[in-house]
Structure formats: C-alpha cells, structure tokens
Amino acid sequence: MNDLSNKINSLFEPRGGNDDETTVPSSLSMGSFLASSVHDMKNSVSMLIGGLEKTLAMADSENLTTYAELVQMNHEAKRINSNLIQLLTLYKLGQKIYPFDPQSIGVEDFLNSLAGQNGELLKSHGIALEIHADPALYWYFDEDLISGVIGNALNNAMRYTRDCIRLIAKENKGMLELRIEDNGSGYPAFMLQESVDNMRGVDFQGGSTGLGLYFSSAVARLHHNHGRCGAVMLENGGSLDGGCFVLQLP
C-alpha cells in the first residue's frame, strides 16, 4: 500500500508523496489544486453529457451520420468523465480518504447493467457483446470502482476487437475472475511482458497514458480478504483467440 500511495501522490505532487508534515506547502497545494480542478471539470463534463443525452434522445435516428456522430461524441465525453473520476479516485486513495465500500453484488446483473450503458455504442460499431455469468454468483466488491475498471477494459476491447467481445465471470480457486475477451489481434508483446505494477507511465506517441491500467491495478489491490488481494492480468488467447483483460478479486 505504501508503494501505491507514493506512486499516486507523485501523480499530483512533484516531490513525491509524504504522509508526514514535512511536505512543502507549495507541492501540497498543487495536489489539492489539481484535485479541485479535476472536480470542477467533472461538473462541466456532467452538464455536457446531460445535454448530449438530451440531444441524442431528440435526434432523428434515421439520419444515420448525425446520429452516429452524436453517439461518438457522447462516448468521448463519457471517456473524459471516467478519466477524471479515475484521477480523483487515485488522489483520494493516496490521501486515504476514498470511501471504499465493498458490497455483495449480483455479478450477472452488474455486467448486464454495464453492457446496457454501452449498448448504443456497441450497436453503432457493429460489435456483438456476450455475457457469460451464473445468475447465482454474488461477490463482494466496490461497485463504483469495479464498474470503472470493467468499463475501461470494455472501452479498450471496443477499440481493438474485430466484431465480438465476451464478458465472462466465474469463481476460480476462491477468487472471482472477470474476463473481458475480444477477437482482435491481442496485446503487443511488450505489454504482456511488463508487469502491470511496473507500468512505464505516459506514452504520448501511442496515445495511451497508462492511467486505465494503473487505476485498475490499484483498485484490484484495494480489494482484500483474509490476506489475499485482487490482481489484474493481460493475456492473449482466451475463448475468442484475441486480447484478454483479467481481473481477479478475493
């Protein structure tokens, strides 16, 4: 946890996080300054999404180009929103003020509801989504955090899949295993080799900030039970012979 909170603080505070009072005031205020700005941006994006949803509801779905563009815009706004939420969450985890709240959740319902939120986008991209989960499977996790993780993985899969994504949930050796599998060409070798915990950070060229994976890994490790904690893994193969994002929760 120490390692984690240091990393998170370093996201916000250039000097690196310190729990004690020796942190200089300027870097402290920088962290809270960023956090409050993120909070403010989130409010604006919320309004933006509200407006887009309304326009989308009124838009003529016959006019396919406009409609598809609106769906895409809405999707991008939501992506900004979930990135902001992830930043804010990481900040709060570092400050030990994130209200972590694991509850017993019906896994199938949970996945269905996530799929429902992405229904329009999947449709417009012609991607089929399958959910494989036992309706009697219940597990303890923080619903908001895990929906952030799965939403993120789903977004990623939508970018790289050919035309199909599978959400699979099953119990495996006392852990809940959530798999997001696609039929794309899979993860590049360097990503598979690198452990998720030692992310090399921002890759401006590739357009990937590493935030999503970093967030997922932090959230997974936050979940613990009797000495075991959660983990995130990337694999190639799976039932669709493509990329697999695997989240294990104790």
Binding site: I49, I97, S104, D109, N112, S113, A115
Partner: protein, 548 residues
Amino acid sequence: MITDPLKPIEPEMDISDKMVLIIDDYQAMRSVFRDILRSCGADVRKISMAASGSEAIASLNKSQFDIVLCDFNLGPGKNGQQVLEEAKFKGLVGLDCIWIMVTAEKTADAVTGAAEYQPDAYLLKPVAEAVLNSRLLKVWKKKQAFMDIYQAMKQLNYPKAINLCDERLTKDKANAAELLRTKCDLLFASGELDRAKELLEKILIERDLPWAKASLAKILIKNKKYDVARLLLEETVAVNPSFLEAHDLLVETLQAMSDFDGANSVLERAVKLSPNSVARQKSLGEVSLKMGNLEEAERAFKKSVALGENSVLKTEGAYIGLAKVYSENDNADEAFKVLGQLNKSFDTKAIRLKVLAVEGMVYHKCGNEEKAKLIAEELSQSLSKDHVDHDSEKSLEMARLFMATGHTEKAVALLQREVKNSPENIVLLNEINEVFVAAEMAEEGAKLVETSRQEAMEMMNLGVLLVSKGQYKEAIDAMRNAREVMPTNVRVLLNLAYVLIAYLQKNETTSGLIREARDSLLAANARSPGEARFVRLMDALNKLPPPI
C-alpha cells in the same frame, strides 16, 4: 446465460403511477432528471420539482412521494442530506419511499452516515438513464424484501423481525448479505449479545467485513471490554481508513478509557473524512476543550453550530461548548452572545435552565459573583419544582455552578442523584468526579460517588431478591421507593416492571398495576431503547390475562 445487451433491462416495476419529487438547485439539471425519469416510465403530471431544500420540505409536507431524486449539493441553505434527515425525522416520507441521492463524487458520509438517515442509493453524476433505471429496480426489490422486517422493527417487535430475517435468508440470495447484517443489528438491539457475537464470528470466517468487526467491537464496548475493543477497532481503521463507523466507535472506546489524546487524533481523522457532521464536529470540540486546546475547540464548535443551522438534528451542545471556550478565553461578551443565540434557536424550558446554569458559570469566571449567585438561587428554586430530570448534562452544569457559588450541599445532592440514576455509565461517573476535582473535593467526591453507586446497586437488586423469597408486596414497595430516588435508572425501571409482573402472574390482574408496569417499561425504553429485558417483559406483560 447469454444476454443481449441491446435489449433494455425490462423493468418489472411500473412507475407510471408513482409520485416523484426532483430536488435540484439548477433548472437545467431538473429538466435533465425529469427527462430521464420520463423515459424510465414516470408520468410527467406526477412529477414535482423543488429548487431548494426549503421548497423540498414544503412539497414533502404537502404530498406523499414514492420516489425522491435529490441532489446533495443544493447551494445555500439545507443540503440534500439535511432535507432527507428532516423528512425522516418528521415522518414526511414512508418506509416505502425510494430516496435516491445524487452526488458529484463519492464521499465517506455517503458510505457510512447514520443508518436511520441513509438514502436508499447514491448515484454519481452524470446520471445515465440505464443506471437510474437499474438502481430504481434494485432498490424497489430490496424494499419489497425488507418491508415486513422494517415494520416489525418500527413496532419494536425484535423477535418477529429476527424470525422474518431467518425466513427470508433461506430463499433470498440476492439480499442475503444485507439480511445477515440486519439480523446482527437486531440481535444487538434486543440485547442478545452472545447470539450476535456468535453470528458475527461465523460471518467473519467467511469474509473480512469491516462492518462485522465494528459490530463485534460494539458488543465488546457494551461489555466494557475496552482494551480488546480498542485493538479490534484500531486494526479495522488501519485496514479501512475511510470507514467512519469504526472511527466513531474507537472515539467512544478511548473516551471511556479516558484517553482523550487518542480520542482527539481519531476524531481529527474522522472529521477530515467527513467534515460535515454536526455531531462529530461537536465531539471534536468537546475533546479539544477537555484537553485545553481552545483554538481547535472553537473551530470545531463553530463549524458544528454553522452546520446545525439548517439541520433538524442540531443540538444545544455545540453552542454551550462554544460559550465555554469564549469564557475560558476571558471573552464573556461573546459567550453571552452565543448563549443568547442558543436560547433563540431552542425555545424549551429544559434548555433555558441549562443555558442559565452555563451563564452563571460565565459570570463566575469573569468575576461577577453577584450575578452568578443570583442565577444559582433561581436555579435552586426551579430544582425543587421539577423532580424528574432526563438530562444529566444539565444536572452537571447546575452542579458546577452550585459548587462555584458555595451551594456545596445542593451540588452534592444533585451529583449523587445522577450517580444513582446511571451507576453503570463510566463516562458520566468520570465527568462527575471531575466536577468534584474542580471544586477541590477530589477525595471526598470519589468516596461520595462510590457510596452512591453501591447504594444504587443494592436498591436496584433488592426487588429481585425479595421476589426470589416470595415477598412480592415488599418487592413492589422496594422498587417503587427505588424509582422515587432514581427516576431515570433503567435497571430500576425494568426491575419495578419485573416485580409487578411477577406479582400479577400469581394474583388477580388489576388495570392499575398493569398501567404502572407498562409505564415503567416505556420509561426504561425511552431512556435506553431496545434492552433485552424490555422486549421480554413487554411480552410477558402482554400475555397476562385481562383485568376483571
């Protein structure tokens, strides 16, 4: 097992006939919510809107709503949580009303506020139609599952509520976790501590659940095993740094152990997690004041007063604390000003007397002995008139003033009565000892407290002893006498009811004695709700044959 994500989740819940209230200070957001609810199937003619907390309360007063969608942040005035608290406190919403709080981000309060004032769900902005729809359905299903349990709880019929939990646990997997938690709470509330402990330990073997650890700690605290409770809670807080309930229990434990330093640092962390709790800021003020940290005390009390301004749950404590801080700082004028505000905000006789006692102490502190004495005089006259006093804080304030103004006998009598009324309340006994210490009567005071405590324990048990010897009439007399001396002592009240019921089980039932037993039981329950013996005795009382 394969679900088509494009097919909307069919709501089994029809909301077209539901009365809906939307509370948000932004016109644009209100329309967004209305549109979403309309697409969820709500009838626009049944949707009402409120732009502020007070507008919301007015609407809630006027009609009964089935669904309330409330933004947490409502600008100046009441916030969403305060609207919910007021609605529940005044009974403006029924048990079946679905209250959904909308927040910009997840906060610690959202996770563990006071359970009775929790909304049914929190939604994070932006609210998507699919999310609201599925959340409404989920809450609605849960309400259906818990309705009869809640009703039994409201009637204080805990055995029935526990049976209902057991029954439902055999068939309802979706709510199993919540049912188990409710059952633990019910066992605790009805005083079945051993059964509660057993169940909690079983739950903890399956999974490390912070709430279950907090509940175990609650049992330890009730059994006065503070050392063990402290260890358990410190471990829980370390692993779950944002779990407020464990912080609150740890503060309670440390205070009972007179470790105010420790209580203070835990409170500081809790306040950082949840800066907007009237009660927590007040506690922080009190602990800081006790430790002589006047600056921190002033800040916390001021915050508590400010937060309480719009809250139906505000108490006089923060005002009194703030007045004491000003008085300690030799700023009598400010202290009087705060007490004046307090009198204006809480217009009851009981509070006026308490304020008067504090005012007397402020005069004493700033050297105006004449005024202090006059007030002490006035208070001592009121004392003989109103006999039963439920507010031990008030008695303590008065005792402080009596001590300071030379009415030592009156102060001692008052304090002895408080000891007898609550001989098992360690925190109160400590405070009483402190009043003696402040009056330079430490040794004498400690002896007085101990003798009163022992006297009380003897009187409390005399009735039960006499009943075991078959001397029913003597037992009743003894417990009536005990009630005269210790009118708010819970064990005395329960024991009086016990001897009356034991007598009635052997003799002809008379309505007078039944009334007396019931009155005594209800007084005990008002003072300390949900004692195991209250539940059992009430049951026995109801089973007596009707009077002839």
